[in-house]
Symmetry: C2
Subunit: 318 residues, 2 copies
Amino acid sequence: MLEGFAASMSSLIDTTENPRVLKLKDAPIKNKVGVVTGGGSGHKPAFIGYIGKNLCDAVAVGEIFSSPPAQMFYDAFKAADAGSGVACLYGNYAGDNMNVAMAIEMAKDDGIVVKTVVANDDVPSAPKDRRENRRGVAGEVLMWKVGGARAAMGGSLDEVINAAQKAIDNTRSVGIGLSPCTIPEVGHPNFQIEAGKMEVGIGHHGEPGMEVADLEPARKMAQRMIDIIIPDLPFVEKDDVVVLISGLGSTPPSELFIFFNDVKRILDEKKISVFKSYIGNYFTSLEMCGITLTMMKVDDELKKCIAYPCESWGLTQF
Amino acid sequence: MLEGFAASMSSLIDTTENPRVLKLKDAPIKNKVGVVTGGGSGHKPAFIGYIGKNLCDAVAVGEIFSSPPAQMFYDAFKAADAGSGVACLYGNYAGDNMNVAMAIEMAKDDGIVVKTVVANDDVPSAPKDRRENRRGVAGEVLMWKVGGARAAMGGSLDEVINAAQKAIDNTRSVGIGLSPCTIPEVGHPNFQIEAGKMEVGIGHHGEPGMEVADLEPARKMAQRMIDIIIPDLPFVEKDDVVVLISGLGSTPPSELFIFFNDVKRILDEKKISVFKSYIGNYFTSLEMCGITLTMMKVDDELKKCIAYPCESWGLTQF
């Protein structure tokens, strides 16, 4: 898979000595903070689809739904560092936390300074007073977009980290699953969702959500999901927001646009303004059917970072 | 769905008086040939995902898997025509042929000159000596890319038509389906593929293929699909080709890259050189699982058109 990816993106992407680490062809880029991420496979475009210009410089690739070992993160740090330090922007999972921490220790011996932002945008995965326990989900895409842009603009390591941290602090997500997925090695779904039911708050690996509810039309799902994330930040009247809606794998894009139309109507009523929307498959779970809604409140700095051009397999914008 | 799409893409896309016709915000563009397409829904990004800069100017939108009526094509012609004529680049389906022909008659009364290219890249849908009976499938994306670029470069209507015709004449496709899809109004799949089997040569609406075979690993599927399309053009040693691999909806992108890696290996052996590859969901069939392989032989003109920048929901390249 990685060989095919690197071959098809050969004008932009390079392999490295570590077959589980891919990097931007130009990386490490002189006088630029390196941006690194990594995680388990099965979430494409995440993570390798966000290696690109003004996005991530290098990515550590794990097995399906499983963290890359410390060595992969360490090698990704080395592939991305040009002496200005590395911003490791990743999601809050036990394996990733452990492996990133070990990789940072390894990088210290080489004099590579690594700072981290740990995405925890998934509201249903823990109560608000235990935000540090929440998982990172599709909001990671906005964290990479912001961190990648801030680095490309010449930001220092602290400036990149602060922008990416602000991005994720201002971001909330929730997912609903309609059907499960199958890890190829296992050969059957690792969880079930009954026909006519939906799992509200499902995680990106099929982690159980907050509730199993009867299947609803898009407008009711939109209301339900907005009711979960809006009070949590909270998003309020006159806020400008970025909306990211991702299919989980097998959701037809037409349904994503039906859903967005309902989200937009509710936000209009609340006088919350959509600065930019990303609708598509941005962070998937193999062939799971379902949808995630992510909202990020944006100030001038975040708007500038979101509007910045970028080029990668998963996200290209002028 | 269309309202949601137009709202999310409001910097690029406009609605028109006809709710089933969307257009590029800038269209009609002075001194540029208008590029129009249209077809049934359920194939996203096709068709509306290719309205964009240097791609299509306007699109007629049908119900799911069903041609837009003549009025839609006619209104799309009007939305795209700036007096330089309209290139209507669409796929070979009975309904579309009939409705486009009627729309051209209607446009004649307004003095709008419309010429057509009818995509027929799907090799398994008819024998080589009845190429005019073959359906258009994912090769349409390359036809729009080439026609859109040629129009943006200032080509006359005949130059745009000739380039798009050359693109599709040089293009061959084949699809394999692993699981069916459900038209929402019907509520159950309109065909079945047994577990452990695959439908070789499946159409974009589940049309039966040439053979039901036992499920194979990617490398065997790649060999089988290349063996179907290579002799048909034929593609030969020293050819430069564009490869487009599309999932049919629910195929995890990781599997598309595994498949591309096998295709690339076989093409390397045949000394056929990949000028550019497009791997992703470019032309889907709701949530069908499966894959299509499209190859286009490229000369200097086609290479220039393929390399030309473009911006749309379905395809953005610098």
